[in-house]
Amino acid sequence: MNKTYNFAFFDEGSKREIRRATLKAIAIPGYQVPFASREMPIGRGWGTGGLQLTLSLIGKDDVLKVIDQGSDESVNAVNIKKLVSDTTGVRTTDRTKEASLIQSRHRVPEVPLQRDQILILQVPLPEPLRNFEPSEHETKKLHAEREYSGAWLMLFEQIMKYGIMATDADHPVMVHDRYVMAPSPIPRFDNAKLDGNEALILLGAGREKKVYAVPPYTNVSSLAFDDYEFEIESFANHACILCGSNDVFLDELVDEESGETYFQCNDTSNCLEMVNQKQSLGVN
């Protein structure tokens, strides 16, 4: 543990301020609470919002998991984990079930979360209305007045243009029937996992200086029309080449030798567990 820095990097005053904003965010599900985002030792846009939440919440007994793009081993996940454990000395894990705090970029883990866990999502663009309204001053008013016709119109226009709702990751959701929220750039596949989740889900945008939350058991629904339903990414007829799962988010990969496309679990720790489970059962 790096003793030249404070426990969890920040001075106590900063941690308290961030926790105060977090409490407000939990009290108003889906509402973006402005907070005095600190400059971090990692780049703005590299997960500083999530990291600030993690550092403000973490205690000595916590067990931390960090995911980036579904993987615990990817460069940024390793980097963030290293910074937190350097300045706190807490234990880290790859296993979703063991973790009390999970910081993630772009994925909700495949393993269902439990009530004593907190999922912290890193958010690059917290404002779901930014696509059609560049002004922060204006979008704040739109949220206050619950004026979301722009969001619906955006989806409607996509249907007119492309025949589908052409949102990629980060398909907007309605939280607790009040606020339209950017679910961080999780794939559409993961949107459903936000709904009624047992764990507390916190979302932090460092560069845009916003914190927001989905408290446990909160209704979260993806924006959609009756005749144009919300569709998740389709992996029909594909399964993970390693563990055989076909109900998870898959990465599309190309075999360098044969040039053939194959699929593999995006959530690597879950995949590993599935493989191990199968092997111990003697399947395969």
Partner: protein, 378 residues
Amino acid sequence: MGYVAVKGGTKAIEESIKRLKYERVKKGTAIELHKIEAGMRGLIDQVMSESSLYDQSLAALAIKQAEGNPEEAVFLLRAYRSTLPRKHVSRVISSENMKVERRISASFKDVPGGQILGATTDYTHRLLDSELENESDISIQDWLRAFQEEDHSTEYQNDMADLNSLPKVLDYLRSEGLLASCENNDLQPGDVTRKSLEFPSMRSERLQILTRGQTGAVTSLAYAVIRGYGALHPTVGELRVGQLPIHLDHPLLDEGQEEDSYYIGDFTATEVEMLIPLTVEKEQGKKEIEFEVGYGMCMGQNETKAIAMGILDNCLEKPNKEFPSHNEEFVLYHIDSVESTGFISHLKMPHYVTFQSKLDSIRKSKDKTTEQEVGLHE
């Protein structure tokens, strides 16, 4: 088939960091911090200003670690700044008390107190000086000794103004009735590092963001303003560089009194007051020209930026839909070094999940198009 997880992130990072160190030290010579501090005043001042942290030795350390890259050095200092508890607020600093080293006015030739050129590159020719190749500590010390022996005192004695209390050019203008007087705004200033910006913002918040702004970005936007993307033709009313004293109130006395306060040191600052002519419409369609003021202040000697800040300060005081440079969200959200470079550089991170999602959308929309085309042909 045995399963091998896709590992290697940790190891790759370690190797990459090692490689970075190699690039920094590969010529086999260590650059000493005191040499950076002694010889890179311009870079140090710029880095301190953008970091909102006034400490020359820390800035030198950051510059060394960053291999002289200012964006990286600012990043290091800002992150360090996040770990520091803020224990005191200084007494209000009045810039009239600046110990002036340099002071010019581009508006009045004959300002009371006179023009004081001080140290500036403005009047140098930018010719490479090959003699610097052979400069040594000894040659520098010889030069210094000779410089100090020169007698600067008698020749100009009579012309010398009191450098600790030079009159302000703007006060002179006000006394002449050319500039409207303004009340002191004694509102507690906002602190943009402790509360995120909300719009419309306070002027104190705008000034903080401008002064922390990336030197290049602030300069570029101000340049755009005077080139035509703005409605301004400003003049430098007064530019000052000098030392400002900082005083802290006695911690145990409630009502801070000047005489009980502690002097804790000076910092170098550049202050600029820009004069901006403005056409005002009076009764019956009559028009008059008046001056407005744009204000800029930066840590260290950082003159171009302070002037640019003064221009943008005035732009933001007068929102104008025609020009982005008069839109506070546009200007204030985009000039911060750490924020802009961070977000641009995050594009280097993997985006596999979102890209997979986009692929799915593209395929689905292509399928739809084919369906429709087939439908049309049937």
